[in-house]
């Protein structure tokens, strides 16, 4: 029987990874209007790449970095080859992302096989606070993802690049007329989103085994967090991830965890019915 604190940490650790996914989704959408259903596949591939890196003897943090870089690179290729030519027709972009799901998932199956993948947890300590035992790995994952998202948020609101991104999101033509290299920013955003998904996959792997078929579920969770937070808002995604993590943590004490996607889905429906712009819809930061 887990205590509330354990459940909260559990829930947060997973939800924060979905927050990473959601940040990528929301940035890409806010900037380009692209809905990329294959986003979850980048996460799964990140985990797969991390297992290979670890099998080669690399330590876990390096494996995370490898996953980050590899998925970012694949993201660049995908943006260049698929989404850029279809930028004028978003519907076709959606459909293309469906083809991406099939292709990416089965390429992964070809390379890594169809079995579940798992790694030894890099951090095996269990912290004891009073009589509550919390896995150090879960805390580490939560802390890392929240730091990454916060750094991104700070960059977005304070830095020169963040300003340019926000300008593009508000009015692309004006930004271009003012000399902002719009296409470079669009590509960079896609790369960052994919890289974050890859990192998320590696981190998630440290918590529990992953099936190469679960891309769709992760995609939906990522979209749910992004929509609850408001599509296009990074701070919204951050907040929504925390909230949904709490909800899942508390609810999973009473209902089987396989339904966790249903909570995210339910939250998304409620948001769409009551306040479609989400927590912080409108504007990219």
């Amino acid at each position: 029987m887990e205590t509330l604190l354990q459940q909260v940490v559990n829930g947060l650790s997973i939800a924060s990874v979905f927050g990473l996914l959601a940040v990528g989704i929301t940035l890409v959408f806010g900037l380009t209007g692209i809905v990329n259903f294959a986003h979850g596949e980048f996460l799964v591939q990140g985990g797969l790449v991390a297992t290979s890196a670890i099998a080669l003897g690399l330590p876990f943090p390096i494996a995370c970095l490898v996953a980050f870089i590899v998925e970012g690179a694949i993201g660049w290729c995908v943006e260049r080859a698929v989404f850029r030519p279809l930028a004028a027709q978003p519907v076709l972009g959606f459909i293309a992302s469906l083809g991406l799901i099939i292709a990416m998932q089965h390429i992964a199956l070809k390379i890594w096989g169809s079995n579940q993948i798992a790694i030894d947890a890099p951090l095996k300590q269990v912290l004891a606070i009073g009589d509550v035992r919390i896995s150090a790995m879960r805390i580490a994952v939560t802390v890392i993802t929240i730091i990454v998202m916060t750094v991104l948020l700070v960059l977005l609101s304070r830095s020169r690049w963040g300003r340019a991104l926000r300008a593009i999101a508000i009015d692309r033509e004006t930004a271009a007329a003012m000399g902002v290299p719009v296409q470079a920013y669009v590509s960079a955003t896609f790369v960052i989103g994919s890289a974050l998904a890859g990192l998320g996959g590696a981190l998630l792997l440290s918590l529990f085994p992953m099936s190469p078929f679960s891309g769709g579920v992760y995609t939906i969770n990522g979209f749910a967090v992004a929509i609850v937070g408001g599509l296009g808002s990074v701070s919204g995604a951050l907040i929504a991830a925390v909230i949904l993590g709490m909800v899942e943590a508390i609810a999973s004490g009473y209902v089987s965890p396989v339904w966790s996607s249903a909570y995210a889905f339910g939250a998304m429906i409620i948001v769409l019915l009551l306040r479609p712009s989400g927590l912080k819809g409108g504007g990219i930061a």
């Binding site: 959408f29 209007g33 809905v35 259903f37 698929v82 030519p85 279809l86 027709q89 978003p90 519907v91 076709l92 959606f94 459909i95 293309a96 469906l98 083809g99 991406l100 799901i101 099939i102 292709a103 990416m104 998932q105 089965h106 390429i107 199956l109 070809k110 769709g216 579920v217 995609t219 939906i220 979209f223 749910a224 929509i227 089987s256 396989v258 339904w259 996607s261 249903a262 889905f265 998304m268 429906i269 769409l272 019915l273 479609p276």
Partner: protein
């Protein structure tokens, strides 16, 4: 010189409808002859299943081809119909024939619920919700074990009984049953396309904002089209359950939805005979190519990308227009619009 009336010229809709009917008749004849050409039973059964999947694609063709709204949920709606049939058979409350309307209504209802939520907001949310529904369906069918049989699914061992004829169990008879179903579905959709409803869907696709500003409830149009596509998928699902004799959760999730999209795009979203051809290509190609299933799926994924990037109106229409161009060079004739 002022013209008092508009010339009653032949509208493009009527000629398209005629062309579509012609192509369906031709298709029915060609396919109807197939069993007599010495095809083996594996081939025949694959064709039967292809026909049933193509009905789901035909429904999506109404939604996407006419209204411009894409959906990934139609695989799950297909599954709704299949499970209604399977559960109905297991509980001995539904025969295949009573399952057909029940499944169609259930699937249309599910589509209406999904759509009602999704259409209150902009179009991309609809797509996301259809994707979520497809995945949620798969999760539900796995987890609601008592109802759905969980991962093992449900066997459907009841025979198909044709009133007045008796049991139908030969592959050839099932082939023709499925062929009749797909031609009927194609005719229904072709008729809808040529009706004012079809025109209103096209209006929504062409310029939804303008349509609304003239007084059209665009959201309700799309919802109706979605419900109809659901009904077709649900009905086809019943036949699918009785043909395959087994339903399981992995068959009807997002990947099934994507499969239907691919079938539709191979055949051409706006054509009448296209979805059937697309389904036949999709299911028969692996037989011919002798590649392993995973590589085949990779190629399908890349193929969908290629179609979207190079020929979004569909492979078959592209092919048909190339053929027509070559034909025209040989003899000039007045060919009506693409079927």
């Amino acid at each position: 010189m002022i013209e008092k009336t508009l010339e009653p010229s032949v509208t493009s809709t009527a000629s398209t409808f005629r062309a579509q009917i012609l192509s369906l008749v031709a298709l029915a004849i060609v396919l109807g002859v197939l069993p007599f050409l010495g095809i083996n039973s594996q081939f025949m059964q694959i064709c039967t299943l292809a026909f049933l999947w193509s009905i789901a694609a035909i429904g999506l063709g109404l939604l996407f081809g006419e209204a411009g709204q894409m959906s990934v949920a139609n695989g799950a709606l297909f599954g709704v119909g299949a499970y209604v049939a399977a559960i109905g058979a297991r509980e001995q409350v539904l025969s295949m024939w009573t399952a057909l309307p029940v499944a169609a209504v259930t699937a249309a209802f599910a589509a209406t619920i999904i759509g009602a939520v999704a259409l209150r907001v902009r179009g991309h949310y609809f797509l996301i919700i259809t994707f979520a529904f497809a995945e949620l369906w798969r999760i539900s069918t796995v987890n609601l074990r008592e109802l759905t049989g969980g991962n093992q699914g449900i066997m459907v061992l009841d025979p198909v009984v044709l009133p007045g004829v008796g049991e139908i169990d030969s592959l050839r008879q099932l082939f023709y049953l499925a062929l009749v179903a797909v031609i009927a579905a194609s005719l229904i959709v072709a008729w809808l396309r040529s009706s004012p409803f079809g025109r209103n869907l096209r209006v929504v696709r062409e310029n939804e904002r303008l349509a609304i500003s003239l007084g059209l409830n665009a959201a309700r149009m799309r919802l109706t089209a979605f419900a109809i596509s659901g009904a077709l998928a649900g009905g086809a699902g019943v036949l699918y359950a009785y043909n395959l004799k087994h339903v399981g959760p992995e068959q009807f999730g997002a990947s099934a939805g994507i499969q239907i999209v691919l079938i539709l795009l191979i055949g051409g979203a706006r054509s009448a005979a296209g979805p059937v051809i697309g389904a036949l290509v999709f299911f028969l190609l692996p037989l011919v190519s002798r590649l392993d299933p995973i590589t085949t799926e990779i190629l399908y994924g890349l193929g969908l990308l290629a179609i979207v990037l190079l020929s979004p109106q569909g492979l078959v229409p592209l092919f048909a227009s190339l053929v027509k161009r070559a034909w025209r060079k040989k003899k000039p004739s007045i060919l009506s619009t693409t079927s």
